[in-house]
């Protein structure tokens, strides 16, 4: 039996002014799966994350989560349905302490959080009384992750978590993400560091100009002529 498809993005279009940031992208993620979303700058990866998480409304196409359309639903509704995310530029509640940052999160009533103590899980519990503004950029990204996990998501969108982390932190966080996926949470990971993606998954979707140009394992992507062309130029 094929694994249950948790998220289906179907032919989604997003237009900013005259620019088609997403030009009919389709992808799917199954429960507990890790999928990498890669591509050069401006290919539409973060726009795709913003659409799935409800920050932007799509101009065309549909998004199905657990078999139901969630197109146009607001972020707080999606958070309670089981979609959560981190941000490329971390967005902590800077004036609150690290602990308060996770305390304000509405935990989903119908699902026990996959991680009992998210701050402990991402390695920030020793800083829990510190103001979030005092954290380094890397720590703020981990705080974003802890906050997303507190909600108890079924699908976690991870937007360029690796940038700004040290190699040691990278290895730790890769282990953590694999652990999250083992606990049944699906991960869609936007990342530029392909080595980091390789640690996590072999299934990648390569985007360019708002479209999918390749889907498959990372090794094959590296051999694919179109992928090589968009990364290196013709």
């Amino acid at each position: 039996m094929a694994p249950e498809r948790l998220l289906v993005v179907n032919n989604v279009v997003k237009i900013f002014g005259g620019f088609r940031a997403l030009d009919g992208i389709s992808l799917d993620v199954s429960a507990g799966e890790i999928v990498g979303l890669v591509g050069p700058n401006g290919s539409g990866k973060t726009t795709c994350m913003n659409i799935i998480s409800g920050l932007y409304r799509p101009d065309g196409g549909d998004i199905l989560f657990k078999g139901k359309s969630v197109r146009g639903k607001s972020m707080h509704v999606l958070s309670k349905s089981g979609i959560n995310r981190t941000f490329q530029t971390p967005k902590p509640f800077k004036g609150l302490t690290v602990r308060q940052n996770v305390e304000v999160v509405h935990r989903r009533a119908d699902r026990k959080a996959s991680v009992d103590d998210p701050l402990e899980f991402v390695g920030l519990s020793h800083l829990s009384d510190r103001e979030a503004a005092a954290l380094t950029s890397g720590q703020q990204k981990l705080l974003d992750l802890a906050r997303a996990l507190t909600a108890g998501p079924d699908l976690l969108l991870v937007d360029e978590l690796a940038a700004g982390l040290s190699p040691v932190e990278l290895d730790t966080i890769a282990e953590r993400l694999i652990e999250i996926s083992r606990r049944g949470v699906a991960l869609l990971i936007v990342e530029h560091l392909l080595g980091f993606v390789n640690q996590l998954t072999q299934r990648v979707i390569v985007m360019n100009a708002g479209k999918e140009i390749f889907e498959g394992d990372l090794a094959s992507a590296a051999q694919n002529q179109r992928v090589v062309e968009v990364y290196l130029g013709q």
């Binding site: 707080h76 958070s79 967005k91 800077k94 004036g95 304000v104 906050r147």
Partner: protein
Amino acid sequence: MRKQLLSSALILVVLAALFLWAPGVYSNESVLFQLMVYLALAQGINILYGFTGYLPFGYVGFFGIGAYGMSVFVTLFHVPIVVGILLGGLTAIVAGIILSPLLRLSGAYFSIGSLAASQILYYVVSNSSLQNVTNGPYGVNLISIFNDAQSYDAMLVVVLLTTAFVAYLRLSRFGKSLLAIREDWVSAEMAGIPVVRTRILVWLAAALIAGLVGAVYAWHISVFYPESVFSLPISIFAIVFTLFGGGATVIGPIIGTFILYGMYNVIGVSEPQYFQLIYGVLIMALVLFLPRGLMSLFRRRGIRGA
């Protein structure tokens, strides 16, 4: 948590005792009443600006509409004064609902928008075609229901309720949600907080407070004109008092109001030119050195309290 609860309770007890005791030793009750008006308005600003980041220059609009709401219900429908005050608050809520699209704006745009909105309310109320209802530009006379002692007590109740509400925000998860929205509304949404609904709720709570204050103020002074209850300096004073003491705290706006309104009464009336000068220098010093108000001095030393 327990410490914060105790300090908030202590603040409420001290405020109540002070304003019940003060008229016995200080004969100018009008100053004490005005002090309470600004204590409540400063807390209203605190709820809106301190907790959500919206700085409402037109906050006085709700104050004026509360004063007029109460007056209309009392003079035209002859409702008892307590009901009139509550209806004054309700009128401000209705104005808040009508003006809630302002919350789509942010920063200086919101401040200017709210200022314009308060002017619109002023022009509606003072319009001579509404003379049958509001008495237009000719003001309101409530001398038949004037009662300075009861209105003084009513204002004290409003101050205590407002302060207690701020204490609740400081301690509750709801208050933390507001701070989260102030810091980053996108993250707050993703944390499951319904940002639009929460902002509107707080906006209406702040409107209710100003409406109740305006209604009790109208009762206390009993004769007033549109320009006196929609006067911009009322907003400015309440904003400066809050910023001076420090937003998102219980005690900050209280300290700010006592110091600055006290100073206003000591030198502002007798020597307004020095007052303006000192006020200006104080505000500049505040913006430059203590942008988060006097209370941030304590927080820097690790004292969080109220």
